[in-house]
Amino acid sequence: MKFTIIVNDAPYQSQSADTACKFAHALLDEGHELTQVFFYFDGVWNALADAEPPQDDRHVVDNWSKLALKNELELIVCSTVAMRRGVSEPLAAGFRLDTLGRLTEAVTMSDRVITFGGS
C-alpha cells in the first residue's frame, strides 16, 4: 500500500513527530511504500538544521534525515507555512521546501494519508 504522512507538530512539543517517524519505519519494514512526508503547521520546525538536543535525548531532526537518506525519501516542508515562521533553507539533510501542490500530488498517488499531531 502507498502512504503519505503529514506531520503537524514541532519536535519535542509533543510525541507526534517521534511517532510519525517510527510509523514511517514500521510501514517500510512491512513492505509498504512511503510516497512523501509532508511537514505543515508547526511541523516545519522538524526541518531546522541547527537543532542540537542534549546528548542523552533523542535527535528528532537527525532521525528524519536518517530515514530520508536510507530510503531515498522526500521530506517536503510547506514553503508558505515555513516562510511565515522564518524557517528557510538550508534545511537539515533530506528536507526541502516546496508547495502544497506537492502534497496534493502525493495524495493523488496514495492509498492512505495519515496525519500526526494537531489536536
Binding site: I6, N8, Y40, F41, T80, V81, R84, T99, L100, G101, L103, T104, E105, V107, T108, M109, D111, V113, T115, G118, S119
Partner: protein, 121 residues
C-alpha cells in the same frame, strides 16, 4: 487507484487563537484546486470561523472571512456544521457567513466513512 480523493477537513479551532485555521483552509483550497473532492466540517470552537461580521483588526490578525467567500469559486462538495456546537455557543444558522448543512453529532460517523483522507484540526 482512484485519483480524485474525497478529503474531509474537520475544523475545531477558533479562527484567531492561532494561524492553524488559516493554514488548514490553505491546504483545503490546494487539494480542491487539484481536483480532489473537498468537504469541510465545523465543530467545537471551529464554528466561530464562519461567523458573520468578523473584524480582528484590533488584535492585528488577518480576517479569514474573505477566504470562505472565495469558496464559491471552488468546487466544495459539502460544508457541514455540527448543531450541538452552534447551540452550545448560542449561534444561529443566520449568524453564519456561508451556506452550510447543519448536522446532528451522530451523522458525523457516516460522513467520515465516505472519506479517503481526513484532516483533523
Amino acid at each position: 487507484m482512484k485519483q480524485n480523493k474525497t478529503c474531509l477537513f474537520i475544523n475545531r479551532r477558533s479562527p484567531y487563537g492561532s494561524s492553524r485555521a488559516q493554514e488548514a483552509l490553505d491546504m483545503a483550497f490546494a487539494l480542491s484546486a487539484f481536483e480532489h473532492k473537498v468537504s469541510l466540517v465545523f465543530m467545537d470552537d471551529g464554528v466561530l470561523q464562519i461567523l458573520r461580521d468578523q473584524d480582528p483588526s484590533e488584535i492585528g490578525m488577518k480576517n479569514i472571512s474573505p477566504a470562505f467567500r472565495a469558496w464559491e469559486d471552488y468546487e466544495i462538495e459539502h460544508i457541514y456544521v455540527e448543531k450541538k456546537s452552534l447551540d452550545m455557543r448560542g449561534i444561529k444558522k443566520s449568524d453564519l457567513l456561508i451556506e452550510a448543512e447543519i448536522i446532528e453529532s451522530d451523522q458525523l460517523g457516516k460522513i467520515l466513512n465516505k472519506q479517503d483522507f481526513i484532516f483533523n484540526d
